[in-house]
């Protein structure tokens, strides 16, 4: 049985930006709606806990107006870039649903970014200010 993950409900209604905090150590606050936060706090755990034939079904448009490519690249393609999972394997484990047909664009972009990402090309270093 697949797992539904409603981004607007279970992560943020306003997913924005790439990093928690590119300038950690300053007075700036962590962005808990960033692509990095999504990947590290939600997506990694979901992917790791999947059974062999399970998929994650992302609900893209419930209370979310739009996504920037900075969020999508860091959030989804970051999984491949930091070597957590290979692109083909990841693409086989995720699917998307939406009622607004415009969100098909974001589905295609997410798939494109995952395919284009180079596996394990960068070591992950958190930008979160603890």
């Amino acid at each position: 049985m697949n797992i539904d993950f409603d981004i607007g409900e279970q992560f943020s209604k306003d997913p924005t930006g790439r990093f928690y905090n590119e300038y950690k150590g300053t007075k700036m606050k962590n962005n808990l709606s960033s692509g990095e936060a999504f990947r590290e706090e939600k997506l990694r755990g979901l992917l790791n806990n999947l059974n062999a034939n399970q998929k994650i079904n992302f609900i893209l448009d419930n209370d979310v107006e739009a996504y920037g490519s900075s969020f999508l690249v860091e959030g989804f393609a970051g999984i491949v870039k930091y070597g957590y999972m290979e692109a083909d394997s990841m693409l086989g484990k995720i699917k998307f649903t939406y009622t607004d047909q415009d969100f098909e664009f974001y589905e295609n972009k997410i798939k494109q970014y995952i395919k284009e990402a180079k596996f394990n090309c960068k070591e992950y270093e958190s930008t979160k200010d603890e």
Binding site: T16, G17, R18, F19, N21, E22, Y23, T26, K27, M28, N31, E65, A66, G68, S69, S70, F71, V73, D102, F105, N108, K109
Partner: protein, 159 residues
């Protein structure tokens, strides 16, 4: 007999005129629809270009004024919504110009929607600190103006 023949000729002539007018009207309606969609697209391309360039030309520092932070947030909203409208209008325009004459324009319009999204909302978009990026501004301007030329070509062909 002559009267019957004349009657049939009149019927055939009327029918032919009706068919001609009908197809002429259909073509005119299609042209009007293409023209109005392309005009709207041109307007939103101009808006997208203006707002995106303003956004990426600014230097948003960690300690920038609350007014600039507010302006930044407003620009992000305007950019996101105008990208959405551009995407919708491009799709709409592509669906009504589906013919051989505009084959290359359809491909260019489809690619543009995807490329401009990557360019405008990529890298540090929506981060707190964003250094000004004039190279990106230049790319945005070149790409949007390039596509405006294509939209104008479509408009001129459907006046």
């Amino acid at each position: 007999m002559d009267l019957l023949k004349a009657f049939f000729l009149v019927v055939i002539a009327s029918f032919s005129a009706f068919v001609f007018n009908y197809f002429h009207w259909k073509l005119q309606e299609k042209s009007k629809s293409i023209f109005s969609t392309a005009s709207a697209l041109k307007e939103y391309l101009e808006l997208l270009e203006e707002k995106s360039i303003l956004y990426w030309a600014n230097d948003y520092k960690a300690d920038c004024s609350p007014t600039l932070k507010q302006e930044k947030k407003i620009l992000e909203i305007e950019i996101t919504s105008s990208l959405k409208v551009v995407r919708t209008l491009t799709r709409e325009l592509n669906s009504i110009i589906q013919d051989k004459v505009y084959k290359s324009e359809i491909v260019k319009l489809s690619n543009f929607s995807s490329n401009i999204y990557d360019l405008v909302t990529g890298d540090e978009f929506e981060e707190e600190v964003i250094p000004s990026d004039f190279k990106r501004c230049s790319k945005i301007s070149i790409q949007t103006n390039g596509i405006k030329v294509i939209v104008l070509k479509v408009m001129n062909g459907n006046r």
